[in-house]
Subunit: 216 residues, 2 copies
């Protein structure tokens, strides 16, 4: 999300010549980058579209050419944040399944540790008021779940999928609490989470199918 | 939340004489009840304050006398939903700890099963854009966590509190997925969740304190 350590040494978008002609894609990227920075430190309702446009050196009207409403703009920013999270938490198919899983969880926990404020602002404890944002959030969970099922090499039954998805909810809560309260070390938390998944999957085998069960 | 089976046989608020004089408290309650019903089936941004006022038989201006903005009104409705959830998921100190825990989880899972749409609309996968809503959501988690620590009779260390909180995130995800996809039975899910908590707490004993750990 915003303020990644690696980017601090490169010029911030605002240091670029303002208002210069950018391609449509570059302009969108610039506006989203500004949003990631601004929304890292203030809630959406405190974000002024005028200040985003001013930061980009363009008119308010031009911003609305790219994003028809503030809600569209916000969704684009959150979508970019989700992409960064999912890029960080890749499963590397070159390594052993256990290590794939461990490194994916470590990347996720580390991402939340580095980006706690924007993460909680974008994704936690929602006013589920915005279906776009909910869809982005559910998309993160779905992608992480599929990657985990792949890395764990368990059969992707409805019960294991439900379990892995719920386990990601557990991991998110652990990662946020750890980042906020420094309860334990990252390494210990990652190990704890990976072990917990083994326990949960072992027990999930015993879950009976519901009479009206779906087969997804 | 809205549309409780037990209430279907009693007159809906709209069946009451419209616009009649109510006490301030009764008027607030009436308006919140209308919101619970309307927001069960549509997202907040599709809710019109005019239609709420019309349903109550009062003017838009009078509604804003009770709730200064739409956001205030929405927060009041979500707060009422949270209260209903927490009332449903009580820990009964009269019964054995295991049974306290089981019945609390069963009530929570049952509540989400009966109120899936409003629950997800109000509480899931947020646009964390509204700090009030986030606070209500975190409040539910905190209350359930304290009740669980009480019922489980484990020592309330930072690690066990973090674990129990994360376990509620797991239970929420399980309950929502079960209600949506009927993966397994409620009874099996409740047993699964309670067993998972034992596993998680047993492993949490091994978590080392972080060097900068908080002591909450």
């Amino acid at each position: 999300m915003a303020a990644q350590p690696a980017r601090r040494s490169t010029p911030a978008p605002s240091a670029e010549p303002r208002g210069r002609r950018l391609s449509q894609d570059d302009r969108r990227r610039q506006l989203i980058g500004i949003g990631l920075q601004m929304l890292a430190s203030r809630p959406i309702h405190a974000l002024s579209i005028d200040s985003v446009a001013a930061e980009a050196g363009i008119s308010r009207g031009l911003l609305f050419h790219y994003f028809p409403t503030k809600q569209h703009y916000y969704a684009a920013v959150v979508r970019a944040a989700a992409r960064r999270l999912l890029n960080a938490a890749q499963a590397d198919p070159e390594v052993a399944p256990d290590e794939q899983l461990r490194s994916m969880v470590a990347a996720y926990v580390g991402f939340i540790d580095r980006h706690l404020e924007p993460y909680t602002a974008f994704f936690r404890g929602g006013a589920g008021s915005d279906p776009d944002i909910r869809e982005i959030f559910e998309g993160i969970r779905d992608t992480l779940t599929e990657r985990t099922l792949g890395a764990s090499q368990v059969s992707a039954s409805p019960a294991t999928r439900m379990t892995v998805r719920a386990w990601w909810a557990l991991v998110e809560s652990l990662a946020v609490d750890r980042a906020e309260h420094h309860v334990t070390t990252s390494e210990a938390l990652v190990r704890y989470a990976v072990d917990a998944l083994s326990d949960l999957l072992a027990r999930a085998d015993g879950l009976p199918r519901s009479p009206g069960s779906a087969t997804r």
